[in-house]
Symmetry: C3
Subunit: 207 residues, 3 copies
């Protein structure tokens, strides 16, 4: 099993758990849990594969991904109540899933020989789109767009790190691990210490 | 005309009517009616075709589908006021469209020789995604995700029924009719008698 | 550079500015600005390319588009405060971007030899989908669906104009300019003079 496959499975598993936690907050039934889990876990990679014209889509080529997401939904359906704060669990698990998914997206695009710009974008899309669709569909404010937090920015920095590493001839697996590490550290630092970039502030309120 | 084509046209027609009813609730003009009708009626099948890499997309191959959706929008624009309750009409018509669309999606995936897992998913995607996009775009709570109702679950059960029927060597048309029947009966039973699966309930409110 | 390319770049530039203005209203950071700018500027054309199975997608074939959208986001991040009303600037810039994008979408579909129905739809999709995704993702009421305004209708009329012009053997560049002009005049007239088509009005409130 290659590192990209491992990252893909890890991101699918953890994103599926976040999807199931969101489903628990929306009080859905078991099939609803599985649906939101799959949308979250497979959404980013699906958009990546459609954009890159990879055929077949990764989870049609290998339905094990669906099994992983479904199993995660099943487990969370019966165990979500053990989390003291499901929102807190959701946000932190999401940070790991983001790091895995960005690295997986970068790995796929590097493997296809794309240019650095496209590699970075595919990392960001794979990392951010599943969670974005999860939140839009259930009508929550997207985590991806929370003010004053690093999310897309963490994905961008991680994906850029992988490109810089490749430029200095670092081998791909190390570049991908660096990508995941940078993404996660920035996201976690943002959650823990409030790290953020300057945001746009209008002097008067919304006009 | 094959049964799959007939199911496809039926789902397009009825989903287009539901889209137009949603447009009437959002007080759009005639072109807005046609837009929401097309998004609802063609959205699920379009995502299915993109995921399965069917080229061209079904409504590009055969623009008659667009004509059906547009005609439905036109008729509803002038007649929506005859419904005593447009919301009630919307929900019930949606249940028929769901049944037709799930069966159509299953039929397409079976015809391409996909595995049972992918067949079930394509049925669910064809059935649920058009209505989901309709509701997300106009900012309504998605019918698909209403608490305590069978919707995705009905689609899942219908699609699974078709697979079980195929396993016992039932011919495809009968398997598809069984799929539509199971989907509709579960959805209608949910609307009429409140049938539902256990939903996740947190003891304290959202945390 | 062909006229279609010029229209594509113009729509990407102006839509990116509108995306950045929406990002400023949501108080995002610079990477968030670039993300929403790219989603808005490239979203409609990306859906068009996926539906028409154009490979590679236009901004993968030519990443300059990404550079244009990113540069627009950067400039607006530092200058958005100069607009007296960002909402007003957003709406008017959006009207120009719509006109350029509809014409670009029509031009692409004409170039591929599609039928008038598909040409009109591709114009509408290229014009409307980017702005629709921008508004749905940040949770604003979509401009595309504002009651009593011409938006989708303007796109439809512009795209239809191009088809009528082609039918009378007008050369493509003139047909595309007529398309952009009709789209913009209708949208601008709607904003300035309140032009609109009759909308559906229910006698009692929403039922």
């Amino acid at each position: 099993m290659t590192l990209v496959t491992l990252l893909d499975y890890s991101s699918v598993l953890v994103f599926a758990v976040t999807g199931a936690l969101v489903a628990s907050r929306a009080q859905l039934d078991l099939v609803g849990f599985a649906f939101i889990a799959c949308l979250t876990a497979l959404g980013g990679g699906t958009i990546r594969d459609l954009l890159l014209d990879r055929n077949p889509i990764f989870w049609i080529a290998n339905p094990t991904y669906l099994g992983v997401a479904g199993a995660a939904a099943l487990v969370i359906f019966f165990t979500a109540h053990i989390f003291e704060s499901r929102l807190r669990a959701l946000i932190w698990l999401d940070s790991f899933a983001l790091a895995f998914a960005v690295a997986a997206g970068v790995g796929v695009a590097l493997g296809l020989g794309h240019s650095p710009t496209i590699v970075i974008l595919m990392g960001m899309i794979t990392g951010c789109m599943g969670g974005l669709m999860r939140d839009v569909v259930v009508g929550e404010v997207p985590l991806v767009l929370k003010q004053g937090e690093l999310y897309i920015t963490a994905a961008f920095a991680g994906a850029a790190t992988a490109n810089i590493a490749k430029f200095y001839l670092v081998e791909t697996p190390f570049a991908l691990l660096a990508c995941a590490a940078v993404t996660w550290v920035l996201r976690a630092g943002s959650l823990t210490f409030g790290w953020h970039l300057p945001v746009y502030k209008s002097t008067p309120p919304k006009s």
